[in-house]
Amino acid sequence: MQCPKCHAPMHTYNRNGVQIEQCSGCRGIFLDYGELESLTRLESQWNQQVPPAPPAPPAPGAPQAYPAAPAWGAQHGGHHGHHGHHKHHRGFGHMLFSS
């Protein structure tokens, strides 16, 4: 399978029983139908098991934590995102200037 973004080959990984395709080029991740929900379910199970940990201090050289966002906010950088590199969205340049 080829990455729809950069066309590099994608490799399949298994995360907690969920099959994930990751691009060997841009590191973007592809989820099949229902897999996101599976991951979300696993995440909520995990959160119920462990008490919330105090926020860890950022490691030296690690990308800075994002500023706070609302509960309905998008994942910054999207599924193709790289830490420290922000995706440029087509149309945003125009939106910045319109009412």
Binding site: Y33, P67, P70, W72, G73, G78, H89, F92, M95
Partner: protein, 353 residues
Amino acid sequence: MSTTRAQLADAVSRIRPGAGDEAAVLADRADGTVVRCGAVVAKAHAPDADQVALAARLRVAAHPRCAGILLAPLAEADTLADGRQITLWTYGEPVAPDEPEAAPWAEAGALLARLHTVPPTALPGPLPSMRGPAKAARAVARLRATVTAAADAGPAAAEAGAGTEAGATPVRTGTPVRTGIAATTGPPALTTSAARSQLAAAAREVGRAWAGLPGWARGEGRAGAGPGALCHGDFHLGQLVRHHGRWLLIDVDDLGLGDPAWDLARPAAWYAAGLLAPEDWARFLGAYRAEGGPAAGSDDPWPRLDVPARALTVQTAALALAKAAAARRALDEAEEAMVDACVRIARLSEAVG
């Protein structure tokens, strides 16, 4: 429009002979036409503009307390034959549209903070209300009218509702992750029932997000207690110009008293939708706080920004859908991100009641 341009150029040459021969249209929308003649910019305000409120807003822009914050109007004003009011302004250099990365986010944050800390009592009143919520309501009404018109237009109108139930719609999945079929969605032409049902489905999501907002954010009644702060009412990067190296806010048509968080809410909505880079958002917010801005809290700004940012998300998505439908084009990435955000807002507000 060319008539309006000619009339504006006429007005400029009458008031400022020799300002410049070439009249260039800077903006031409239902809510105003802006023409530049050399160093002078003339604006024909909306035909339905409240003349009393506009006069009050222009007095604020001309007030010494707002010098260095708002661009002041030139003293002369005029009206067009059809009654539209004309105001004149000195031309300022806008933010380069092809270089959004170079946008003056910090300066914008500082300017808004200074605007919000102007004591309303120091200004000539009575001051009108800031028009932000009213504009959000207008955007939602425009989308509803677009959906109704599209549904009435085609013989397959009845089909439009049917294909959108039970997750059959390929419009949105509520997450930016592509789930197989989403990538195959082609550009819509509203001549097809599929395009009409896509529009209707997206508009329903926008409507659900809108329904979860408190009345004041939907333009129904006033926010909370107190008179509020002096707000711009329609802040975006097109509302900044540079004069002699200093940035100023322009366009006072929506200025007035209200919740100052509204002026931060459009960048907040862009950030929440994943469009505005975290570093730009942090620069904007940091400069706003450093200048004493009252609407961002000291740590987490979202308790203050949440409602206005939801409203601006809905407004932006509604206008994007209405404009795309009118032009029979697909949403671009940024517009899709705003509709996606509406889906999440709707789910969240319905989940928490």
